[in-house]
């Protein structure tokens, strides 16, 4: 087994509802959905964010889309216009979750290496 960052296996989008951020995580390869489901437990995600999430973490499954949806309660400093955070609408909690390290079989680690990142030498 190897430890890799989630960004290799999934893309994500996040948004807000009051003081709750949601992060939808989508497997690049539907075959890796089960792996994500096993590793990205609510407890593991709560531990990953640490003090950034003051409330509970809820998880919902969307197997048809190869996606998991997380609700991070108490993550936005009060939310809306109350929040003093730069990311008051939780727009980049998505990439915050993609930093998380997960355990994957060695062949999955090898076949997904570099995925999710701009290729070397690329310019706009």
């Amino acid at each position: 087994m190897s430890r890799v960052q989630l960004v290799q296996l999934a893309h994500a989008r996040s948004g807000d509802k009051g003081d709750t951020a949601n992060v939808g995580v989508i497997a690049y390869d539907p075959e890796h959905y089960e792996l994500l489901r096993e590793q990205l437990t609510p407890a593991a995600v709560k531990e990953h964010f640490g003090e950034m999430v003051t409330g509970e973490v809820e998880r919902f499954e969307l197997p048809n889309l190869g996606a998991l949806n997380f609700l991070l309660h108490g993550a936005l400093g009060g939310g809306g216009t109350m929040s003093l955070m730069n990311d008051a609408q939780g727009k980049v909690f998505s990439t915050g979750l993609l930093r998380m390290e997960i355990e994957v079989p060695d062949d999955v680690a090898a076949s997904t290496a570099g995925q999710g990142r701009v290729p070397g030498g690329w310019s706009p």
Binding site: H11, A12, R13, S14, G15, D16, K17, G18, D19, N22, G24, I26, Y28, H48, F49, G50, E51, M52, F60, E61, L62, P63, N64, L65, G66, A67, N69, L71, G77, G78, G79, G80, T81, M82, L84, M85, N86, D87, V92, S94, T95, G96, R99, G116, V118, P119, W122, P124
Partner: protein
């Protein structure tokens, strides 16, 4: 794929402030039946309420009227009908301005404007409370009486029925207040296909189409994480068009030759955006189950969406209440190498000590280092001493306006009275902002629906 008639609904605006050329491109690109324009967010209603308090003719999205002056003739010629919640807290004012704009644009006598009102509960608030509608906070359970005096706006999220009525009466443009974002897309579908209110699966399909449409280019390549560097011609990004069949299944696409990209992944990212419990997506007309969605990538910027399931609507409508809840301000300064983060943190400590000595009162003081931890917080770890630069960002919040005002005068002095190698203060003092807090509540639907009104006016 299902055969037969297809209704094409284009999205032209994902929020108040979105690309103002997008709806023009959608209409000039041709081949569409409806144009939906979403202007409202939770905070937008309270901004519009403030504008109306200063000027009784204001309180709606004025850009919409300017837009219609440009596209009204083409819409009338092509038979493109427009559905929008641009009315904000003054749909009547918006409709009046629209009629005038239509005449200036030369469609006088050739078009009708539909107006939906009655979602605004601000004037009825005390009457509703007295009648036993508690309007308790959905998240905390607290009764509205706790903040009654601070309320700035109160609007019920309304569904498809009044929009469908306006379309039946022949409106070419339907202007509403706080219609749900998704209803702007599925109301025309109910009108065109005659779906019954009990046809939960098809209306749920319309809700999914609305959810994909409502954020504009966010499903056609905008803010798309997957291989974003490969997405072509974002400068001329195409906004979404949903091509819906009678059975509710639809294809998400965009105009040929426009920029951006529609793939299974770009659509999936938008589906999970601002998602709660996906099995329980509540709207005024149906409860949709987003776990039932199937996506097929057809290639050439076409994604088929099908299989949607839904359940009956609830007895309640959601009410969006905004109330003033104090003041805030945010100040920034930029520190350079060497030891940029150490300098910024030292400045923060000095600033906080001065605020303390001045005896000011804050409910919260928050410090972030832009360029290090303002996006990923503690996940960023400790900044290296060789960080080239960092921006100190300090925000304060207080019920005492004077404390926040005084804070805004304490940032610039740090340039001469704090740690070295600091710049980036040319923007002047930070601005004091009034905080509009959000109070979500539920109300029995008949209390709102009995007051909804639909009018149609000739241009």
């Amino acid at each position: 794929m299902s055969e037969g008639r297809v209704v094409r609904i284009a999205s032209g605006q994902g929020f108040w402030g979105d690309d103002i050329e997008a709806p023009v491109r959608q209409v000039e690109g041709g081949g569409i039946d409806y144009l939906m324009l979403d202007y409202l967010a939770e905070v937008t209603m309270s901004i519009m309420q403030k504008q109306r308090a200063r000027n009784p003719d204001a309180g709606y999205a004025r850009d919409f009227v300017e837009l219609m002056e440009r596209i009204f003739p083409r819409c009338v010629e092509d038979g493109v009908r427009v559905v929008t919640n641009s009315g904000g807290v003054n749909p009547n004012g918006c409709a009046e301005a629209l009629v005038e704009a239509g005449r200036r644009a030369g469609v006088g006598g050739r078009a009708k404007v539909g107006l939906v009102h009655g979602d605004d509960l601000m004037e009825r608030l005390d009457e509703l409370l007295q009648a036993g509608h508690e309007l308790a906070n959905m998240e905390t359970g607290a009764p509205l009486s706790e903040i009654r005096d601070q309320v700035q706006s109160a609007n019920a999220y309304i569904g498809a029925a009044p929009i469908v009525d306006a379309l039946k009466l022949g409106a070419d443009v339907v202007v509403t207040g706080r219609s749900t974002d998704t209803a702007l897309t599925y109301a025309p579908l109910i009108h065109e296909f005659g779906w019954s209110p009990d046809d939960h699966d098809r209306i749920a399909a319309g809700v999914v189409a609305g959810h994909i449409n409502e954020c504009g280019a966010q499903c056609t390549g905008g803010n798309c994480l997957i291989n974003w560097w490969e997405i072509p011609d974002m400068a001329a990004v195409g906004f979404p068009i949903v091509e819906v069949s009678e059975d509710g299944s639809f294809v998400v696409t965009k105009h040929e030759g426009s920029g951006g990209r529609v793939t299974r992944a770009s659509v999936a990212e938008q589906i999970v955006y601002e998602m709660g419990d996906p099995t329980d997506y509540i709207t005024p007309d149906v409860v949709a189950d987003f776990t039932s969605i199937h996506l097929d990538d057809l290639g050439n910027d076409r994604v088929r969406v099908h299989g949607m399931k839904g359940g009956p609507r609830t007895d309640f409508l959601k009410v969006s209440i905004a109330y003033s809840s104090g003041w805030k301000a945010t100040g920034t300064l930029t520190y350079s190498w060497p030891d940029a983060a150490a300098k910024a943190r030292s400045a923060d400590r000095i600033l906080r000590e001065r605020l303390d000595r001045l005896g000011l009162h804050f409910d919260e003081i928050r410090t972030e280092l832009v360029g290090w931890d303002s996006t990923h917080g503690t996940l960023a770890g400790e900044p290296p001493a060789d960080l080239p630069e960092v921006q100190l960002r300090v925000g304060v919040r207080s019920s005492d306006r004077a404390s926040v005002e005084r804070f805004t005068r304490e940032i610039a002095p740090l340039v001469l009275t704090g740690p070295p190698s600091v710049t980036g203060f040319a923007g002047g003092r930070p601005r004091v902002q009034e905080i509009m807090a959000y109070w979500p509540a539920l109300i029995r639907r008949e209390a709102v629906e009995s007051e909804l009104r639909v009018e149609v006016r000739d241009v």
